[in-house]
């Protein structure tokens, strides 16, 4: 297993949000994490990226124990994050984002390849991120994560604010990434994208993984889905 999460718990201040998450992902695997608002998806992803210290449990990356590592160390070990809410650097231009994020000379995802994926971003390369439209910022956040040449990408709602046609591009990109051997953990509300990009689906309920199955199976099992996600049919 490339990424192994054992009994992970974490939270903010006194309050605990994750209550023992168990999850593993093989190298090159892609998993979508679903769940209602506020169940702790973002908290899990932040903890895996090192932004929140875990209060219990262990995280192994390619067999190495990386529990409690600082985010920059995890990044160097190959973990990249596309955070919820974009979190681009408003006072930096698009190009500067790439200049800072690029590791190993941008072998796999050079800036130009990202611009092919998101042509709008290419046209805005000299603009400050603070001036970009919402969707453009989202593209930039994805591009920044790719530029670090990661082995695992954690994506927190990458489709938020993107036009449907761009969401399709993102789906293409995700598939390409997985084919290139990347490991992907995706949090997504848009089921099209969610089911398109991943082979497996996990559903989170109140800080735990409640259900996990292959994508195809999930598509067939609408009642379970509705129960877990609270979608009114």
């Amino acid at each position: 297993m490339f990424l192994e999460v054992r009994e992970l718990s974490a939270g903010y201040g006194q309050g605990r949000v994750l209550h023992g998450v168990d999850l593993d992902l093989p190298a090159g695997g892609a998993l979508t994490l679903l769940g209602r608002n506020g169940v702790g998806k973002t908290t899990l992803v932040s903890t895996l990226a090192g932004l929140l210290p875990p209060t219990g449990g262990r995280v192994l990356l390619d067999g190495q124990d990386v529990t409690g590592w600082q985010p920059h160390r995890l990044a160097r070990a190959g973990v990249a994050l596309v955070p919820q809410g974009r979190r681009v650097w408003p006072a930096l231009t698009v190009q500067e984002h790439f200049a800072l994020a690029t590791r190993h000379g941008g072998r796999i995802w050079p800036q130009e390849r990202v611009f092919q994926l998101f042509p709008r971003l290419g046209q805005r390369r000299r603009h400050f991120a603070g001036q970009l439209s919402g969707g453009e910022q989202q593209m930039l956040a994805i591009g920044r994560a790719l530029a670090t040449d990661p082995q695992v990408v954690l994506m927190d709602e990458p489709s938020e604010g993107l036009a449907p046609v761009v969401v399709d591009h993102v789906a293409d990109a995700l598939r390409a990434m997985v084919q290139a051997g990347l490991t992907l953990l995706l949090v997504e509300h848009d089921l099209h994208l969610a089911l398109d990009a991943a082979q497996e689906v996990a559903v989170m309920v109140r800080g735990r993984i409640a259900h996990r199955c292959p994508t195809a199976e999930f598509r067939q099992d609408l009642p379970t889905m509705q129960k877990l996600l609270g979608v009114a049919a």
């Binding site: 679903l34 769940g35 209602r36 608002n37 506020g38 919820q84 809410g85 709008r120 805005r124 603009h127 001036q131 970009l132 439209s133 919402g134 969707g135 453009e136 989202q138 593209m139 709602e157 938020e160 604010g161 993107l162 036009a163 449907p164 046609v165 761009v166 969401v167 399709d168 509300h189 848009d190 089921l191 099209h192 969610a194 089911l195 598509r219 609408l222 889905m225 996600l229 609270g230 979608v231 009114a232 049919a233």
Partner: protein, 252 residues
């Protein structure tokens, strides 16, 4: 019927970047008018121009037949143009009730806040979004979804005749989207709504008319059906594969 809001040949540029190149948009009273379009098409910019946060570099904006192009933002608010925000700009150090009360007094500095009638109105406004008991709670202590609902309560409490919303469904899970759609449908028919949204389910569930913004101009205005059928819109915005996944509701 005459238009409540009329944008005539509105243009806007940021430095050398021409974002809007002559937008024509007419919105009649009671409409639920959705603005859709590719990222960076200028939807948010157009909303800002209507709300008065930015001044257009060309063209004019008319509201109830009045030319409001040069009005500052607060004056537009006073004549009935209300605005909800995508990223929460709720007043963190005040309570939910005070946030609503500030909207109720609509820009008057010396309004009497303690007044019983006003308190009742605050209760009604909060109740309409299911936050009746939250009046004394400071915004900083509220959860994300509570804030989103308060956001809408505040926008409505200002009793706008024209309500502008930018991506109200962003970041919401399926369940919450459902609630949002109901909330928007429950807005009284005297209130006209113009909203930007990428979630097409929300768009087609709520909107009575849809305008597609593309390359800085309105490509097409029509009903949801008409827009869905348009080939140009398909290419520029919707993408091809959307309809190919049957049986799966969008937005879980």
């Amino acid at each position: 019927m005459t238009a409540l809001l009329h944008c005539r040949d509105v243009q806007h540029r940021f430095g050398a970047l021409e974002v809007l190149r002559g937008v024509q948009l007419a919105v009649t009273v009671g409409e639920r008018h959705a603005l859709i379009g590719p990222n960076g098409a200028g939807k948010s910019t157009l909303l800002k121009l209507i709300a008065g946060e930015e001044r257009p570099s060309g063209g004019s904006i008319h509201y109830r037949g009045q030319d409001i192009t040069r009005y500052p933002a607060y004056r537009r608010a006073r004549i009935g143009i209300g605005r909800g925000f995508q990223h929460s700009t709720l007043l963190e150090s005040l309570s939910a009730g005070q946030n609503v009360a500030l909207a109720l007094t609509g820009g008057r500095l010396l309004a009497r806040q303690g007044d019983c009638r006003r308190l009742a109105e605050v209760d009604v406004a909060l109740g309409s979004v299911g936050l009746r008991d939250m009046a004394p709670v400071p915004v900083a202590a509220m959860s994300y979804s509570q804030r989103r609902r308060l956001e809408i309560a505040v926008a409505l409490a200002a009793r706008p005749q024209l309500l502008l919303l930018d991506e109200p469904a962003a970041g919401m899970s399926g369940e919450e989207r459902g609630t949002l759609v109901e909330l928007l449908r429950a807005v009284p028919p005297t209130v006209t709504v113009v909203f930007v949204e990428h979630d097409l389910d929300v768009v087609f569930d709520v909107a009575t008319r849809v305008s597609v913004l593309h390359l800085g101009a309105v490509l097409l205005t029509g009903t949801g059906q008409e827009v869905r059928r348009s080939r140009e819109v398909q290419e520029a915005y919707l993408g091809g594969r959307r309809e190919e996944v049957p049986g799966v509701p969008r937005g879980a």
